[in-house]
Every structure is written in structure tokens, then in C-alpha cells.
Symmetry: C3
Subunit: 266 residues, 3 copies
């Protein structure tokens, strides 16, 4: 049974997601659609790319449809991509959304531009390419009735838009990291792993400060008292900040891309 | 594989939607359920009817379950309907919710009142007919084990409740249209199409005013700068108002049913 | 076709739910997953237990996965349970979440501790046991490739954590009941049924007071005018408070566990 996974910033208040499911079901009645999430913040391409990158490894290999598309109707390309590993196919706008997931699966070995794909639903609207372009192409690929090359115009994978992310760095003042993303609980995902901490001379289970505020480096937020700040490896092996039964985002007054300094508590 | 589509105002915070899925799965294990949306504003029959009308064309033909039912437990009828086209079956309360979709598929050729259907779950609760009446009837119809006529008491389709919508009109002051509906982004759907604009002497790509505020008639909101107002044909070929990366609803202080005047900018 | 039902407090804004669906699909591609709800308030084990108890009777028998897990990564046990009736299997944390549903299906006849199950995804994260422990075990059980006893270490069902709920009681002042739970509409579920009302000498359709405020005991909130308070049997045969087209929770200023007094209006 073919699988289509689906991630977007459409939310579930409107019928956008449902209509895309309908379009897929009409074209590929046997395909199973798994919703990764539709709760990506509106137009937040980076959050979508990060979630897609980490989630797809837990999804069956198949066609991975993703739509976070602030420039819909503009000049950005619409693309379908084949990754080097597991024959994973990615379908979505070429704005960096797919780039981290593509790298995760060995890079792109075949790419087509699908903005004028013969598989589109006609007439194509200016604002709902999820329904008219991306979902139909994903469904046809899942149905196996067409090869990727027949889905659009061949494109050099080297021309695809790549997402540029901030990078944590060790300094004399400690580890300077950045807020990559936050979940609904206010847990903050950083652009750093355990190795970055070690490179900055910081050790596990040592008392730390984060932006001057005391924090514990622990296994999970259950290791600290309610209201306390904890630095931990999250479910995806990435360093994260949390407040047990609270919100680290609010407690530290952080926003995405903010710099934070992690240091040894004096 | 039989398809049941499902639209409601139940939201996803509670178990209402999940329980209806369970009821359907017990009666029709082979049926596939596609959620159109459960984010219709509570008790907003008209929004439900409009979303259903435009979404169903993208759904596989099947049984289309819809529940926005402010008078549940009161005197309103519960109905199952067969449309003239594509053998589409509609199941829900008879309060206008199904009326636009029925018209879209050629009108109703067979109707039954299912409030006392032998297919109900007993005992029927006073407040959760989605679970006890509508979902079981929809599931039995999808399973194909029963004909529509056996689902309830025959009803004259002419007696079904019809939704009355406002109508845009051309005036000396310009096109007077109404707010039919707004999505979560604050994009405003009007009761007018391109032909209505033309009838009022307004032209594509001309500078316009909407309630005295400058707007551009363009292909999509990507055609205007962030924060600017744009009038465009939405994904369903209906005129809509948007603010690029903002909310037209908020920018113009609009509510559903409000009248707006579209005129040529002087 | 095997069924896995899934309830959690993960919400749909992030990819937690989607990733668990992916994990299940990889292990048990033929299993059908039905989402009960993921809108349980964060860490509200009791709300999860109550919703699970009442919803499962409407779900096909199968594997019932539930994750509301404030102590994830701490000392609480992870368990898989077989109920006496219908071969229902429950999978989740042993914090009382599963206890009401287990009782509903005749009690637990077989229990295993799955925290170190050979079926886990390695490496197990400290904070996402839904993905790494519960979903994999549920999926393997649904796939039928493994017996419950092979899923973990045998556990005495008598050691499982039981949820303790408040109990309504008849007093001279009337029926003293408690707020068990509230839905998104502000409808308040009480820990009392019709028999408790009768035991306190209160009768159907009689004018009552709830915390001193007039209320009607009626069949449904459609029986009272907009804004009025009504006491009724909800869709699960439990006494509930509602305000027609409003919120009883807000109108009475209630919170979960609050005591309310229902008396005859003088």
C-alpha cells in the first residue's frame, strides 16, 4: 500500500487539508495518507523544514507532500524530488521547505519542476496549489501510474533552494546557540547537540546558566522541580530548553532566532 | 472502497469526531472516512453549507456526512438525501446545511427522514445525534447493506429547508457585496464573482476602493506588498478580499453578512 | 483489519501525533488508526481517563493506545493490559489513565510492564515514549506478530495505579456533586446520574437551583432559552450542566473538582 505523508501550515479550521485528502483519494484510492502535522505556523518555512526533516525518518518511505508556501502564485518553483535513499519522493514548493529532509535522505538525485505539470488540476487557482498542483502530483506518484520524470520539466538539483540555518559556536563566554523552533508547550529547540556543549567545556549534570538564569543539564524535565529550567536532549537528540510544567519560551522571553548563551554557573 | 466524508462544528478538542469515526468503523469496517473539516464555527450552519458545497466536488462520490446542528434535540428533521448527480448521498440535519451541496449535485431526487431510523444507535441521546443518528445511517449506507429508502420515512424533497444567501448587486456607487465567510487567515469570501464586477463596470487590474480603502484587483495576494489590500478570485473562483501577510477581516473591521462597497478609485 | 485507537494530550500543532502514526504504519501497515482525540488538556490524566472510558465502547475492539504522561522519563511504569471483555488491549502509562477504561471492560486479566520492552524503538528518548515505547508496542500487538506476554515483563494487575474520583452525595441542602470535566463548549460533566438526583429528592422537570442560580432539569439545552442554565443527561447518560448557546463553566465560574450544590428552587 502506497503512503503519502502530508505536512502543511493549513491548520485544521478550514477545509484546505480535507480537500487535499479528497484530491488524493480520487486519484490514488488505494494510497494511505498520514498527516505529519498541519500546525506549522503560517508561512514559517523553516519550522516546516525542521519538522519534516526530523519526522520523515519515522514515516514509511513513500511520497512526502509538504506545503508551506508564502509565495504561492509568485515566481517560486513547484517541485518533485527523488532522494538518494529509500526512493523517498518529496513534493512541495522550492523555497527550502524540502531541503533539510532531502539532505537527511542522501540528497536529491532527480528533480522536476511541476508548476505546469500535466498532472495538475485545471484550472489551476492562483492561491491553492496544495489542491491544484502538489496533491495531484503526489497522488499520481503514489498511485505509481507515472514516473517522476513524466511529472514535469527536468531540473538540475543543484539549482534547488537551500535553507540556511544559524550555527551554534563555542566562545569564551560559553556556548552561543540559537532558538531554532519552539513547540506548543514552549519547549525551545536549539541549534546545538551534546558535542557542542562539550566543545564549549560544559558538562552533563553540571549547574549551568542560560542567559544568566540557573538551569540544570538533565535527562528530562521530570528531573527538575516544577517551574525550574532544564537543558536536555529532546526526542530527536537535539538540545532543548524546557521549564518543567511551564514554558521555557515565556520564562526566558525568547523568540525564534534569538541568541542564547549557555555558561557554567559561578 | 466506499468513502464517507465528514464535516462538522465539533472541533478536535473533544472526542466527538473520534467517536463518530468509531461508530462508522464498527458498522462499515471497509469504509474510508475523509474529514473535510471539523473547524466550522460552532452552530454556523451557513459556513458549514458553503464549505460543504465547494469541497465536495474535490471528494470522491460517496456518503457525505455533515453535522452543524444548533437545534439538535429540537424539532428539526434529520435527513438522508440522494442527489441527481453521481449518486452522492448527503446525511445531516435538515436546517439548510446540506442544501447548497444538494443543488451543486443536481438537486435532491430522493429524501428520507431518519430521526427515527431503524439504523440509529439505541438509546438515542438528546444531544449527540452525530453519534447516534447521523454516523450510523451514513455508515450503513456506505456499507451498502441497506437502500436509502429503508433508512427512514420517505420525505418530499420539496419540503427540505433551503438556505437563503445575500446577493451582490450593481449600484451607482459600485458593486455592493456581502461577507459570506472568512477563513482562519482573515481572507474574506464575498457573494460575488468576476461577472458581478464587470456588471458594475469595474475592471481587472484597475485600482479600486473597498469601503473607501484602496485595493488592487489582482491574481493573488502575492501580487501586492505586505499589508496591502487585494481583491482576487480565490481557489473556488469566488471574489475574495485579503491583506498580503495580514487579515482583511481585521483590516476592514468586517463581520459575516456585512455589506461592502467596491468602487473605482478616483 | 486490526484497529489501533489513539488518545493523547499531544495536540495537533506539532508532529507528535503524526510521528506516532508513522511508527505504527511502519510496524503494522495493515492496521487502521482511529484518533479518539488529541485535545486532552496537557497532563490532565483524569480527563484522559474519563474520555477514554466513555469513548471506547463506541470504538471497534482492538488495541487502545493512550498517552497522557506528565511523569514521562520518571519512575512511572509503562504498561500493556488485556481486559476481561472483548479482548481489548490497553497501552499507555500506568498513572490511572487506563484504569477507568479497564474497569469498563471487566478489569485487567493480564498485564505487562513495557518500559524495557524488546519492541521499543532504540534509542529510547527520555521524553517521547509515545513514539519510542507505546506506539511500537501497540503496533506490534495490532499486527498480531507477538503475544501480550512477550511484549514486556509480567506484572500483577493488582499493582496497577487506580484513579480515585470524587463522589456525589445527597445532603439536607440538596445533591452535592463535583465538576469532573468540561468540554470545549463549557458544558460541565458532573459525577452524578439521574439516580443521584432522585436520591436527593430532586425531580425531573422541576425548577432547581445550582449554586443558588436557577436552572431547569430538561432533556437537552434546546429546551431552554438562550443564556439559561440547564441540567440534563448528556450523550453518555451522565448529568451535565450547560447554558444554551453559552458556557456553563464560565457562567458559574467553575473549575474542575469544584463542589456544586443542586437544590429545589424555593
Amino acid at each position: 500500500m502506497a503512503v503519502v505523508t502530508f505536512l502543511s501550515d493549513y491548520g485544521l479550521d478550514d477545509d484546505f487539508v480535507g480537500v487535499c485528502h479528497g484530491v488524493i483519494a480520487r486519484i490514488a484510492p488505494q494510497a494511505r495518507v498520514i498527516d505529519v502535522t498541519h500546525g506549522i505556523a503560517r508561512h514559517d518555512v523553516r519550522a516546516g523544514a525542521l519538522v519534516l526533516e526530523r519526522a520523515l525518518g519515522y514515516m514509511p518511505a513513500g511520497v512526502h507532500l509538504a506545503v508551506v508556501d508564502p509565495e504561492v502564485g509568485g515566481a517560486r518553483r513547484a517541485v518533485a524530488l527523488r532522494c538518494a535513499q529509500e526512493e523517498r519522493l518529496l513534493v512541495g514548493p522550492d523555497n527550502g521547505l524540502l531541503s533539510l529532509a532531502a539532505k537527511r535522505f542522501g540528497g536529491v538525485v532527480e528533480a522536476v519542476e511541476i508548476g505546469r505539470s500535466p498532472l495538475r488540476l485545471e484550472p489551476v487557482s492562483a492561491s491553492f496549489h496544495g489542491r491544484d498542483v502538489f496533491a495531484p502530483v503526489a497522488a499520481h506518484l503514489a498511485a505509481g501510474t507515472i514516473a517522476l520524470a513524466a511529472g514535469g520539466a527536468r531540473l538540475d538539483p543543484g539549482e534547488l533552494v537551500q535553507l540556511v540555518l544559524p550555527r551554534a559556536r563555542a566562545t569564551d563566554a560559553g556556548l552561543v546557540a540559537h532558538v531554532l523552533h519552539a513547540d506548543r508547550y514552549g519547549n525551545v529547540v536549539l541549534d546545538a547537540g551534546r558535542a557542542d556543549l562539550a566543545a564549549a567545556g560544559l558538562r552533563f549534570a553540571r549547574a549551568l546558566t542560560v542567559n544568566g538564569r540557573r538551569a540544570l543539564f538533565a535527562t528530562t524535565f521530570a528531573d527538575v522541580a516544577a517551574g525550574e529550567l532544564v537543558l536536555y536532549e529532546d526526542g530527536y537528540r537535539v538540545l532543548s530548553l524546557a521549564v518543567n510544567r511551564g514554558s521555557a519560551l515565556d520564562a526566558l522571553g525568547l523568540e525564534v532566532d534569538d541568541e542564547i548563551v549557555i555558561a557554567t554557573a559561578s
